[in-house]
């Protein structure tokens, strides 16, 4: 409850600041230049160019395109007395505007505009001629797949939106932009499809983004933690993707996406738990294969969370449940191990985590060596030295492998960390502890919401029509309904009868 109060407070303070900062632009050139210099603290790249007829150009060298400055601005400014309105007409740049306030002027300049001040007029004309520094579009690295488009978002907001607009040539794609962060003023955009997305949901998201009062938004992954429903939760409640086609499929299902300038990942919401285990490729392959893959991912999630813990519980407390034929090899391999199963398991799990973490930060070439040293040398040595049992190595390797099948990196991380508390619970109270852990996770998941919609849908609350595209995927003819999760205004993607005629 105290969160709401905080948000209200921050809103008030924001309004007050705005009123204070609404300072008009001085009409006098000298005053204006001094003011600008003061505001930018005599920055070295602040370029001030006086023209004879009372026109002053101010811009940041580092941000603007020199070619445009010469060709489209300087060449168009006439000599003689001119008014700002005249300049507005003369300049050959598409993005030109007139501003009366200093704050706005500084803002646009910081985004790559040149400010044109005319002596005697309390306003400036700003023309955007900023350079677009961005790398070229590349293949998706984190969500690579064999089928489907091979293109990923990059760090430029404009490019990312243009990518989406290419996929969805539709006037109903709405784009609302905000700037966030007291220090960074990063551009943030909400995209949604009018006529499909639920207006109430869009309002909710808009409110959440507007109410954020932070210093900086450097990446969408930090923004998502600010706008998701419960930032204390174990599981992420909003999905991020770097694939434009996936973002578009969300839009088409009535969801909203949030783009942040300077970040590769876009945020999609509302999402369900099950969507963290889906990949875009499931749509491209045959439905039988997609179903198989999805079921396998769910299975491997369960395996990677519980497998080691079950081993620990069974070997610490419940020897009876292991059949005799299995007990003999287990006993043989454990006979040399001096530790109780919980220590043994935690030791090895920690080692795997070390390997993974070390490998993640290293250059690829060194990373490979790392894998060989860690996996083969240390693993074999640990068994030979009698530190761990062979069977545990297999179990841990399988559960590590299984945790990589989760298509989403964030969820993969959660799963790999969740193992530790469960191993400890299993080591303390056997299957009972494991079950307590499981029930806690279940209640926790039931309690979560994503943008106010239930996180475990379509399973709870049960929406049987949406099960067709959940942990299974039925043939494309059956998945003609948009999931209810985002409360789409138009439930039908297409009508089966009309689209199914193949002659």
């Amino acid at each position: 409850m105290f969160f709401k109060k905080k948000k209200a407070d921050s809103l008030n303070s924001m309004n007050q600041e705005n009123i204070e900062e609404r300072e008009m632009i001085p009409a006098d050139t000298e005053d204006f230049i001094n003011e600008m210099k003061k505001r930018l603290h005599n920055s070295a790249d602040l370029n001030i160019k006086d023209r004879p007829n009372g026109i002053t150009l101010i811009f940041l060298d580092s941000l603007i395109d020199n070619k445009m400055l010469h060709g489209d601005i300087l060449a168009c400014l006439h000599d003689g007395k001119v008014s700002p309105d005249q300049i507005l007409k003369d300049i050959n740049v598409s993005n030109v505007a007139k501003y009366p306030f200093i704050v706005e002027a500084v803002d646009t300049m910081l985004k790559g505009a040149v400010l044109i001040h005319t002596s005697g007029h309390p306003c400036i004309v700003s023309a955007s001629i900023g350079t677009q520094e961005h790398r070229s579009l590349t293949r998706p690295e984190n969500e690579s797949q064999v089928l489907g488009p091979q293109i990923a978002f990059n760090e430029s907001l404009a490019t990312n939106i243009s990518l989406i607009r290419r996929y969805l040539t539709n006037p109903n794609v709405c784009n609302e932009s905000f700037s966030l962060g007291k220090q960074t003023n990063s551009g943030v955009s909400i995209l949604y499809m009018k006529g499909i997305a639920d207006e109430e949901m869009v309002d909710r998201l808009r409110e959440r983004i507007k109410n954020i009062k932070v210093d900086s938004v450097l990446d969408s992954s930090t923004l998502v933690q600010l706008i998701e429903d419960n930032s204390y939760a174990i599981f992420p409640q909003m999905l991020m993707t770097e694939r434009p086609d996936r973002a578009c499929s969300w839009l088409l299902n009535g969801k909203m996406i949030v783009l942040v300038d300077g970040s590769v990942q876009v945020i999609g919401c509302p999402q369900t738990f099950i969507e963290f285990f889906q990949s875009m490729e499931d749509e491209s392959v045959r439905w039988q294969i997609a179903t198989f893959l999805r079921l396998m991912r769910i299975f491997s999630m369960i395996v990677s969370i519980f497998f080691t813990a079950i081993y620990v519980a069974a070997l610490t407390f419940h020897y009876e449940i292991i059949p005799q034929t299995l007990l003999v090899p287990l006993g043989e391999s454990r006979s040399r191990v001096p530790f109780p199963p919980i220590i043994e398991a935690l030791l090895l799990e920690a080692m795997i985590e070390l390997l993974r973490e070390a490998g993640a930060r290293l250059p690829t070439k060194v990373g490979q060596t790392m894998g060989i040293v860690g996996g083969i040398v240390v693993g074999t040595a640990a068994v030979e030295a009698g530190f761990t049992s062979n069977i545990l190595i297999i179990i841990i390797a399988v559960s590590a492998l299984a945790s990589f099948t989760t298509p989403n990196y964030m969820m993969g991380n959660v799963i790999r960390v969740l193992r530790f508390p469960l191993i400890i619970l299993a080591g303390l109270w056997g299957f009972y502890g494991l079950m307590i852990g499981f029930c806690f996770l279940l209640i926790h998941l039931i309690r979560q919401t994503s943008l106010g919609t239930p996180f475990l849908a379509p399973f709870y609350p049960p929406r049987f029509a949406d099960w067709r595209d959940s942990i299974i995927r039925l043939p494309i003819g059956f998945t003609n309904l948009r999931p209810l999760q985002a409360r789409p205004k138009d439930r039908f993607k297409y009508r089966i009868r009309k689209s199914n005629k193949k002659e």
């Binding site: 407390f317 419940h318 009876e320 449940i321 292991i322 059949p323 299995l326 109270w429 056997g430 299957f431 009972y432 494991l434 079950m435 307590i436 499981f438 029930c439 806690f440 279940l442 209640i443 926790h444 039931i446 309690r447 239930p454 475990l456 399973f459 709870y460 609350p461 049960p462």
Partner: protein
Amino acid sequence: MKVLIEPKPQNMVNTFLLIFVVHSMQLGVGIQGFQRIIYLEAKHDAWISVILSGVASAIVGFVMVKTLAAYACSDLYGIQYDVFGKWLGNLMNILYVLYSLGGFHVIVRNYIEVIQAWVFPELPNWLLSFTLVFLVFYGLNGGLRTIVGVSFFSVILSLWLILLLAYPFQFTNWDYLFPILESSVTEILKGAKQMTFTIIGFEIIFVIYPFLKEKDRVHKHMQYGLLFTTILYLGLMVVSLAYFSGGQLERTIWGTLSLFKIVRFPFIERFEYVAITFWVLLILPNLMFYLWSASRGIARIVGKKEKKINWLLLAFLYLSLLYPLNRMEINMMNDYFAKGAFYIVFCYPFLLFAAVLIKKKFFRKKGGANVENSN
């Protein structure tokens, strides 16, 4: 206290989910060992007792829904207040709250006993009850939707346990069931009465009714839930009767758990360890709903928020669970609770229904407008 309540739309749940709520509430610790208790009364005709108790639950369920339907949107607490007046009504409300708290206590006691008898003899009471109380607290904080969700998943995720009945099924001897109707009618009826402890739980409808979305479909889904439970109990009873011999059944305290003993997979034996620990998930909805209905009752009487009362009740229950009881005392407690539950669940609803009917008939014209159903 207001007789009628208007729950917020975001707290309402689909009527369809009532099936799961009713079924998961009925399924609890009773099922772990109901075979012996019924067998002692009705011998090998115990399965008839199960059917009779199922029929009785259906009738009582019908009466309960009819009672609730006489009001637009009210629960047991409001109805008792309206029918019996302020003092007597609130006294009845407190009795029902006590009954709910008793249900919670009895379930935790029985489950802890099972855990200590089968899996961890040394694990102390305070730890086991603390973990359960913690889970209940965490779930209750999520509101009614979370509790209903837990009961939904508890049913769905434990359906596979039914399939395991196939293992004892291989070793059944159907001769044990014959001759049919050897026991007298009174014995069978007594057996049916002994089912009380196992079959109760559906009285949750009294409290959850205002929170269901489509009121006209409540009765249908209630009956589905009851039917599902009855079929499950019947199947379990028949398999147990045919699997165990009479003498064995008399000495088997936890018949259902003993059935799991022979389940055997290539990678797992002695399945009862898994089943018993898995039972946490089956008793969680019971605990949550009992505590929820108790704290709702107090909240309705006192007029405070439920969340604060949850704290107090759970702390109180936790302390009461620390008091050591031996096997005999737990048995006695079960019997007392079952006796009380028999009157509260199987007899009292008829009385209440009659009272509501009388009130409706004779006091309609005297401006008791708020009790009338809107149609």
